[in-house]
């Protein structure tokens, strides 16, 4: 038996199940094969027309039953698909029996439904009165639920048998990491022996794409979709909008060992810090991101020497990659040039609310398999970002500890430190 308490006397939190869906496919096996094969899931958008759009590519998940049926439906299916894979791997039968933390995108009534309501044959009123009157007459529970923020988690909770009031959260592009952090904290408080943390995002609608596009956040390299996401490259020009879902069964090491579950890795530490500088830009000195990385390491009880791989946020926007490099080089000093740092987003794009959870799953797979997934499309290195980005091809490496970064609009910074072994 290994020690069940960490350096601060808290329960050690193990991961005993993982599931993932991205544009690369369903499940860990397919995703890992594609990811280590350097294959991109980015493609031309077929879900909606692309006339008038500056960006016509994305990493949408087009192969689920709910694909194209709106944000709420697809997010829900992504979450459930990943959760079922994770729970099955954890060997938990029947009710899950712990709390649910779901990172998911904000929801709104879909345009399709707005058109339906507005086009309905109702009394001759115009404007929003027409929408309201039509909605009242129709009284469509499914339409109502698709715009309720608590709906997805409630349904997941019912289907999976999680316990208590499920928490749905958003910390923008750091949401997936925050869901994991909430689960870790609940176990450390002794509230539960296990928790289910999910990040899921099926929000790639035309309006979502246009909103990011209007903020100049998206790549417009439409000609060769699979080459558009190029984190840390000189010619990077924005992120690629994408969808995905990932789930982790978090469990106190003591509970996992007691029931003989296989321990896939340890969620060693979490750190966060809010930025007060600007709604979309980071403080120029990078201090909040730096503080978040340091907080994760301190929480994990790890020195910088212990980290041997960084799963970067690496969005491929000019701003993020520059600031992430600044933060990492400030925390790790000279040593950062010896630590491989790669971005899964070069292949799967930016899965937004799911990203932190998806990339946590890939971080554990990196340690399990002893293989670093590459940063693809690294043809023109940015000379200002002096990092070993594991360019273009996977690399074998023994990895015992990973740092995974997540940064988001609204000054959200969350970092996770994960290890292969409990000690």
């Amino acid at each position: 038996m290994t020690a069940a308490k960490d350096h601060l006397g808290r329960p050690v939190v193990a991961v005993t199940g993982m599931g993932v869906v991205t544009s690369l496919g369903i499940g860990k096996e397919d995703n890992w094969a594609a990811l280590t094969g350097g294959r991109s899931g980015i493609h031309r958008i077929t879900r909606f027309p692309t006339e008038h759009l500056k960006t016509t590519i994305a990493g949408t998940v087009d192969f689920l039953a709910s694909s194209g049926k709106g944000n709420s439906a697809l997010t829900s299916e992504l979450a459930e698909t990943a959760a079922r894979e994770a729970i099955a791997q954890a060997g938990i039968d029947g009710e899950f029996g712990g709390p649910l933390f779901l990172a998911s995108p904000p929801v709104e009534l879909e345009w399709e439904d707005r058109f339906t309501l507005y086009g309905a044959n109702i009394e001759d009123v115009e404007g929003y009165q027409r929408l309201l009157g039509s909605a009242r007459v129709r009284n469509d529970l499914a339409m109502f639920e698709s715009a309720q923020f608590g709906f997805i988690a409630d349904r997941l909770s019912e289907r999976l048998g999680t316990r208590g009031l499920p928490i749905t959260l958003s910390t923008a592009c750091a949401s997936g990491a925050t869901a994991i952090q909430l689960g870790v904290e609940a176990i450390r408080r002794g509230e539960c022996d296990r928790a289910l943390a999910i990040g899921a995002d099926g929000s790639a609608t035309a309006e979502a794409l246009i909103r990011f596009s209007l903020l100049s956040a998206l790549s417009t390299n439409n000609d060769v979709p699979e080459k558009a996401s190029k984190p840390f490259s000189r010619d990077r020009d924005g992120f690629v909008l994408a969808e995905g879902g990932a789930a982790l069964v978090l469990e106190s090491l003591e509970s996992a060992q007691a029931r003989g579950a296989k321990v896939l890795g340890i969620l060693k530490g979490c750190g966060e810090r809010a930025d007060d500088f600007h709604r979309t830009r980071s403080k120029p000195d990078g201090s909040p991101a730096i503080a978040a990385v340091k907080a994760a390491l301190a929480d994990a009880g790890l020195e910088i020497e212990a980290i041997d791989y960084v799963n970067a946020h690496g969005t491929s926007t000019p701003e993020n990659d520059k600031m992430e490099h600044l933060s990492l080089s400030t925390v790790f000093g000279e040593r950062i040039r010896k630590i491989p740092v790669s971005s899964n987003k070069s292949m799967i794009g930016h899965t937004l609310s799911a990203a932190g959870a998806v990339e946590a799953v890939f971080s554990f797979l990196t340690m399990q398999n002893g293989v670093l997934p590459p940063t693809i499309n690294y043809d023109h290195p940015d000379p200002a970002i002096d990092l070993d980005v594991v360019p273009n091809a996977k690399r074998d490496a023994q990895v015992s500890a990973v740092l995974s970064n997540s940064f988001g609009f609204g000054g959200q910074n969350a970092c996770l430190a994960m290890t292969r072994e409990p000690a």
């Binding site: 759009l53 904000p106 928490i167 959260l169 246009i210 809010a274 609204g410």
Partner: protein, 390 residues
């Protein structure tokens, strides 16, 4: 008493009744408190509108105000009131180590753009291309940031410099329950020393009304108090705009900086799914209340099913309900923080307020040492808490 007891040291309230703790307590303590309603602007629906607010008092920079729509401004303003009330505002060190949990829905859409597109859609069959063309040219680029759920917290960080951590919970009333429950659990376990927690809701926007009316939840026609809304007049909800933020702190942290607390937050119990009468009764039972009548600040929404079940559960336990939605309207994510705030004020003053609706609420004499807060969701989730003397 324990060093990690959760005490309430700051309260920031805004509703149709006004702003601040004194104004709210004075208004609800009136012998026959009158709601502020507007039945014309969104007829046939009635709303409880925001009072006049001088935004500059809590959001100094005009540039910051311009970056937000009303929902975010309202939340940032109410958060500022709470920080002020707790003596934390502008204390750089305390704000930089303060954690934050915000309960939020989404922000306001551009109704002019939406309706113009919808009008055009009736004569233009290719809706997808129409959307692309119109949204690409008509949407204000920064509006997205005024709509994102986590950007209320983001704006609080920018305006008030609260940067220890920032988490946004979503999910209607349940998000408010989970926010307070999580903040309290963090303090009790030593994971946080002081937390800003709360929510805002701006209902004076047709898209926010649409959110309710998709399932016909809104009350129509003449106004009625929360326990007396007839099914012939719609779904029972009269919404209101408002905000409620609390500063929760460990007893130790508050004492070390010499702050008196309003009250101590006791147990918080929450339920998932759709709590029925038995589940609500069970929640109230989890509070282990001393055995005499207690005041309950109920966030009952007016939605027929949930409101009726909550009232029966409260009555069966012999508790004295005060359905504050009668006076403020239903403020969605705000309901639970608001309920906890009113309970804290009652405990702090040691006295109950008179019934808001004499036919359905009983008077309560004698000193108030403990009060209960509830928010049972109009459609799902719910939670209750006790508040006691500090």
């Amino acid at each position: 008493m324990s060093a990690n007891d959760v005490v309430i040291t700051g309260i920031g309230l805004v509703s149709s009744l006004g702003e601040g703790t004194s104004e709210h307590w004075n208004r609800i303590s009136d012998a026959s408190p009158a709601p502020v309603i507007d039945g014309e602007r969104f007829a046939p629906y009635t709303v409880h509108p925001l009072p006049e607010i001088d935004w500059g008092k809590q959001i100094a920079k005009r540039g910051d105000q311009r970056q937000m729509e009303t929902w975010q401004r309202l939340g940032t303003y109410a958060a500022g009131l709470a920080l002020d009330d707790a003596g934390i505002k502008n204390d750089e060190a305390l704000c930089a180590t303060m954690d934050m949990v915000v309960a939020a829905g989404g922000g306001e859409r551009d109704t002019a753009v939406d309706i113009s597109i919808l009008d055009q859609s009736r004569s233009n069959g290719d809706h997808g291309v129409l959307l692309n063309e119109r949204l690409t040219t008509d949407l204000r680029p920064t509006l997205f940031l005024a709509q994102l759920s986590n950007l209320l917290a983001g704006n609080i960080s920018i305006v008030h410099k609260v940067t220890g951590s920032s988490r946004t919970f979503m999910g209607e009333e349940g998000a408010g329950v989970a926010a307070i429950q999580t903040a309290a659990a963090r303090i009790r376990s030593g994971q946080s020393t002081h937390v800003l927690v709360g929510a805002a809701f701006q209902t004076e926007h047709p898209d926010m009304l649409l959110g309710y009316e998709l399932a016909a939840y809104l009350h129509r026609g003449s106004w009625a108090p929360v326990w007396s809304r007839s099914e012939t007049q719609g779904g029972g909800i009269v919404p209101g705009s408002g905000g409620a933020f609390l500063v929760l702190e460990s007893r130790d942290h508050a004492e070390k900086r010499g702050r008196k607390a309003y009250a101590r937050l006791g147990r918080v119990a929450a339920a998932g799914a759709k709590p029925d009468q038995a589940a609500i009764s069970h929640l109230l039972g989890e509070l282990d209340l001393p055995d005499h009548p207690h005041l309950v600040f109920s966030g009952a929404s007016g939605a027929h099913r949930a409101t009726e079940m909550e009232k029966i559960a409260i009555d069966q336990r012999g508790l004295a309900a005060r359905g504050f939605s009668t006076l403020t309207g239903h403020m969605k994510e705000v309901q639970f923080p608001f309920a906890v705030a009113l309970a804290a004020l009652a405990v702090h003053r040691g006295a109950a307020c008179p019934p808001f609706e004499a036919d359905h609420e009983k008077p309560l004499d004698g000193p108030v040492e403990t009060a209960v807060a509830t928010a049972i969701g109009y459609h799902r989730y719910g939670g209750v808490a006790t508040v006691a003397g500090a």
